[in-house]
């Protein structure tokens, strides 16, 4: 894989987005998102073919309005019960509503983003089941609370495994094989070594997490498979993160565009694909899906796209 984006190009996009955001008092946001994603996708190539993001600002604007109304309704119900002296119900609705929305946002967000991602003209897709994801989410949440957070490693990886294993590219599918136990020990080791080394080990911990993500992923179709491996090193992560931080500090945040392109370059260039697969045999087989409500909900609830 390779990333060809340049900080200066992305910076220009950011500036134009900022101008239009001010002129429209923030309403340009969905179109700004379209521009950002289109640029980043188009500069990201696999086998010398770029990815394409075909979502539009119009779709995301509609989604944004819907997501906003849903959140407003929850907040309205909260206020209604709170002001009518039943704070119990009020908080139940507020927290219950927001927690309940999370798996829905993950599900819908993946459906939308995958349907709008294509490569060699072949759409990605997400075939997960909403009910199953919700079951997995609430089981994980309850167990995490009951075990005072210990279960969170299993919770994260179970969700990741479910979601990633349901990602399709045409007639090929991704498979994720990581398990919670390995992730738990990885983090325990990372945490204590980071403490012992006064934070220096943090970069190697980061490298291990990245490896855990990439190396457990493969793409398969019938008997063919492509395996992904990470080439990233702890030193590489250290250089990336320290320089990013310095860029942000010394440019007063204006260098954010370079931070994004540097990070994308690092991530993409450090993923290697090996295996037996003829990509020419990919066939268009995933449905298009244009409802961006959940994707915008994920933005509004402020949690990242990748799990």
């Amino acid at each position: 894989m390779a990333f060809h984006g340049k900080g200066s190009e992305y910076f220009k996009i950011q500036i134009v987005n900022a101008i239009l955001n001010i002129l429209t008092l923030g309403l340009y946001y969905p179109w700004a998102k379209e521009r950002n994603l289109k640029y980043l996708y188009s500069k990201n190539t696999f086998e010398e073919t770029p990815f394409v993001f075909s979502g539009t600002g119009n779709e995301m604007f509609k989604g944004f309005i819907k997501a906003f109304i849903i959140l407003l309704a929850i907040y309205g119900a909260f206020l209604y019960f709170y002001l009518n002296d039943s704070p119990g119900w009020a908080f139940l609705i507020l927290y219950g509503g927001i927690i309940g929305l999370m798996p829905l946002a993950i599900h819908g967000s993946y459906k939308y983003r995958m349907a709008k991602t294509s490569w060699k003209g072949i759409r990605f897709g997400y075939s997960g089941d909403r009910g199953q994801l919700m079951g997995l989410f609430f089981k994980g949440l309850v167990l995490t609370i009951l075990t005072f957070g210990i279960y969170s490693a299993w919770f994260t990886i179970n969700l990741r495994r479910y979601v990633l294993s349901n990602v399709r590219v045409g007639n090929a599918r991704f498979v994720y094989t990581g398990n919670g136990g390995d992730y738990f020990w990885l983090n325990i080791k990372g945490y204590f070594l980071t403490l012992l080394t006064f934070g220096i080990y943090m970069f190697w911990w980061q490298k291990n997490q990245f490896e855990f993500f990439v190396n457990n992923l493969r793409l398969e179709q019938d008997e063919d498979a492509v395996f992904f491996t990470s080439k990233a090193t702890g030193g590489g992560f250290a250089a990336l993160m320290i320089v990013n931080l310095l860029i942000l500090i010394f440019t007063f945040g204006l260098g954010y565009a370079w931070v994004v392109t540097r990070t994308a370059e690092f991530v993409v260039n450090n993923i290697e694909a090996k295996g037996y697969y003829s990509f020419e045999s990919l066939l268009q087989s995933q449905q298009d899906y244009s409802d961006a409500t959940a994707d915008d909900m994920a933005d509004l609830l402020d949690f990242g796209f990748v799990i």
Partner: protein, 359 residues
Amino acid sequence: MENNKALYYNGSSARPVEVRVLLFKNAVHLYDVSTDQFMQAFPLAGTWYNKVGENHFLYLDKKATEYLQFAIDHPLTVTLHKEVTEANMNWPQRLMKQRLLFLLGFLGLLLIAFYFLILSFVPWLGAKVIGIQQEIEIGDKLRAAMLAQARIVGEEQDTAGTRQLQAFANELALSRRYPIRVTLLKSKTVNAYALPGGNVVVYTGLLKKIKTPEALAALLAHECTHVNERHSLRSMLRSAATGIVVSVLFSDATGISAALVGNAQTLNGLRYSRSLEEEADHKGMELLLKNEVALDGMRQLMLTLKEEGDLPGNLSFLSSHPLTGKRLKEAERYIKDHPQKAVQRKDLQVVFERLKHTW
């Protein structure tokens, strides 16, 4: 015509076929390589172009499932790129075409305009919407919160002193619109401040340093000007407006830039409050004039404050009050410009003595 071949991906499989490409009537026309048979045409408006790595890509439909791939040195790419861009120019794209320097300048201007718009509009609207009665209620709530907070650090209200100080304030006509209620707080701090809606808080630390009724009257006149001119409310609305500006502009940027902007805002807020202090000194003396209190009280008050010491000169931009020396000069100039008959308000003297006797 060998130089018009390209790879065509048809959106149903990832296996490309070779096609011939012709460009006319604002559309891309595709022909079969071996038979030269016409296959399909795509209007240029709606296509988009991507040049990445060693290849050029022309996406033929909005969903981008059908596209053409050209090698980087393909002779068609120059015209294609130009025509596709022209056919799809909307105005954000036109903006994209501008030079970076122009864009940065334009952004800067917009930022400044937007900043001043919000900064004057929100406080204006707030002051219109919030009535006197509501302002008084807000002030009372703030006073209760302030007292609760003071109690945590061991500062109690001096009830007897408060009563006497209130009696002193009642001797003066300080405000036409707001009921002036004073609170005397037991503390070593040399300070006093005004809350929205007529609450004035004075610390015993400052009161003990005040030697004459005129100086005390000057202090109250200064604080009550903050009340009358709604300074606290305006400051609060202003910082709320700043919050709006920061969150609109930096909602998608990093925490660092937001923090930096926040810092700059604090500094600017201090400058703003210095201008309010100057106004309070000035209008406070007008109040003294109206109450026939000797203007010298303001000069005495300034001297008292000056004893407390200023921040070193080069740190004066960090102070919410203008340097006392400067204020002292202003007061002296005002006194010179407004000669008074030497009146001594005996009634004030009496209440002042009573107040001083409470400790």
